[in-house]
């Protein structure tokens, strides 16, 4: 079924992005999404961020085993399968994060004693895997028609040793960074739904994303063509990223590695804390 989605060509033209390498901070890799590509699940989506690609399928609301049923809301299950090998502890912890995020937005009380299962398959991993999984899960839930109180998107940031923030890092950038942070944000009030952090960063660096200044704002708009659902994501990037002049940029393809970013004077706080922390906030 050919339902390839394209990013908006007009927005691309406006931002004037060619094949230039990514500047510091505020740009995402080229991303694309395709929905309704699998015939068995009730909803499916494939999300692509640069070279990272995740395929998601949603089954539900369906029958649930009596041992797992919850009397007043739906039981949400997330299964994440890595590209190679058996799922391990890392996959289990990611499944828990994705499940908590989905539980915050899905209206489970409309379908008590049912199960909604999200199955994610990693097709290729080139950095920002958790964010790509979150985006694919959201798109698949939308395709399945599961009632939700908001949409959510995931974004990964990497802080390198100079304190510069790089959004949507590649695997190389993630390895060289001193901290990698992943956030899930909803589309209604841009509230933080989930944060997962790993590495060493100061409180100031860690709290900047919660003010939504440096997060890319991505919104999904869906067309209903005759009997077809086309989905496109248009991203305009957040502009106030440590004094970098406002610009919106979408990068295409992988150019040569970016030059070392200009160092921004950021006084390292006295209380830099190493953290491997994940917190799910839910929607209050």
């Amino acid at each position: 079924m050919e339902e390839e989605m394209h990013t908006d060509a007009k927005i691309r033209a406006e931002t004037g992005a060619g094949s230039s390498p990514r500047g510091p901070g505020c740009s995402l890799r080229h991303f694309a999404c395709e929905q309704n590509l699998l015939s068995r699940p009730d909803g499916s989506a494939s999300f692509l961020q640069g070279d990272t690609s995740v395929l998601a399928g949603v089954y539900g609301p369906a029958e649930v085993k009596v041992s797992k049923e919850i009397f007043n809301k739906a039981t949400l299950e997330v299964i994440l399968r890595p590209k190679i090998g058996l799922p391990g502890v890392a996959e289990k912890s990611r499944e828990r994060l994705i499940r908590n995020t989905c539980e915050a937005v899905v209206l489970g009380t409309l379908h008590p004693r049912t199960s909604i299962t999200v199955v994610l398959q990693v097709v290729s991993d080139a950095g920002s895997l958790l964010a790509c999984c979150l985006n694919a899960a959201c798109m698949a839930l939308v395709d399945a028609g599961v009632p939700m109180r908001a949409l959510f998107c995931g974004v990964t940031c990497a802080l390198d040793s100079d304190g510069t923030l790089v959004l949507d890092p590649t695997s190389k950038q993630e390895k060289e960074a001193r901290a990698v942070l992943t956030f899930a944000v909803d589309n209604v009030e841009r509230k933080l739904l989930m944060s997962s952090t790993k590495g060493l960063f100061s409180d100031a660096e860690g709290s900047a994303p919660s003010t939504n200044q440096s997060l890319p704002r991505s919104s999904s708009s869906a067309w209903l063509r005759p009997r077809r659902l086309r989905n496109t994501s248009s991203a305009s990037t957040g502009n106030r990223c440590r004094g970098v002049t406002p610009r919106a940029e979408t990068s295409w393809g992988r150019g040569p590695l970016p030059p070392p970013p200009p160092t921004h004077p950021l006084q390292p706080e006295a209380n830099q804390r190493p953290s491997l922390a994940s917190r799910s906030y839910g929607l209050m």
Partner: protein, 274 residues
């Protein structure tokens, strides 16, 4: 393109609620809040200086608006819960009409009054368990057939196809279906006969095929003589004179979801010739 950019711009502008009337026919996303027409007038721009002061400022005429699939009440606004196009139907009598979101889905959720095709999966005592494609099987009592009494039981076996309607279907209880209408007559419901083919399509296609002015069914009827049953749970049963004709009809109905009307007419004319 322009529509998407404007929708994107609206979403980026923040959680400012839009009026339901201004969004009719456009795509809405989960999380959006819609203002009903009367609130829109009260909160809209240009209200302060231009409207005459009403003597009874407190009481607003409250029009009763029905909130259909894909929408939920959230305070005095409508919260969108599914992606799709917003639709509105004017009321016949008084009232504000119905608002709903036209969305596409494969999984069926039982709704009271819907006519569905089910497959009998189990017989336990006086009740049949019928799989309707929802989250749990529906129950069907053996007395819910026309002319059924305790002595005169209907001839229903496991694996039979049943066409019936829901009398109880809500999120808290097990769905129950019957094969008689409120007068006690079958009215087309009951066990579906031998042969034929049952296949599954999306719910949106069923609603389209059952619309009063649907050309597809009229054109299909001119092709071959056939018997066809539509279930609101996405299941269609079709039977024609030969197996080949049945399969052709099944393929046409599955494919017409993604075809334009010109392509469909081409296919029908080609089939009519052969």
């Amino acid at each position: 393109m322009a529509e998407a950019a404007s929708v994107a711009a609206e979403c980026l502008a923040g959680c400012r609620a839009r009026g339901a009337r201004s969004v009719l026919g456009q795509v809405v996303l989960p999380g959006e809040e819609l203002l009903l027409p009367e609130q829109e007038d009260a909160e809209g721009p240009g209200g302060a200086g231009e409207r005459p002061l009403s003597l009874n400022a407190g009481a607003r005429s409250r029009v009763r608006v029905i909130c259909g699939p894909g929408l939920r009440r959230c305070g005095d606004r409508l919260l969108v819960t599914k992606c799709g196009r917003l639709r509105h139907k004017e009321p016949g009598g008084g009232g504000g009409g119905v608002y709903w979101v036209d969305s596409q889905q494969k999984r069926y959720v039982p709704v009271k009054g819907d006519h569905v095709i089910g497959i009998v999966t189990a017989k336990s005592g006086d009740i049949f368990k019928v799989d309707v494609g929802g989250s749990e099987p529906a129950s069907l009592s053996y007395l819910s057939f026309e002319g059924a009494t305790k002595r005169n039981r209907p001839n229903v076996q496991v694996g039979d196809l049943i066409y019936g309607q829901f009398v109880v279907a809500n999120k808290d209880m097990e769905p129950e279906m019957v094969c008689i209408d409120s007068c006690g007559r079958a009215n087309g419901m009951g066990v579906i006969g031998q042969d034929g083919l049952l296949f599954k399509v999306t719910l949106g296609l069923i609603r389209k095929l059952l619309a009063p002015d649907c050309e597809i069914i009229q054109e299909v009827g001119k092709l071959y003589p056939l018997e066809i049953v539509f279930g609101m749970n996405g299941r269609i049963w079709v039977k024609a004179k030969t197996i080949q004709q049945t399969l052709i009809l099944a393929n046409i109905l599955e494919a017409c979801e993604h075809m334009t009307s010109d392509q469909r007419k081409q296919i029908f004319s080609r089939l009519a010739e052969s």
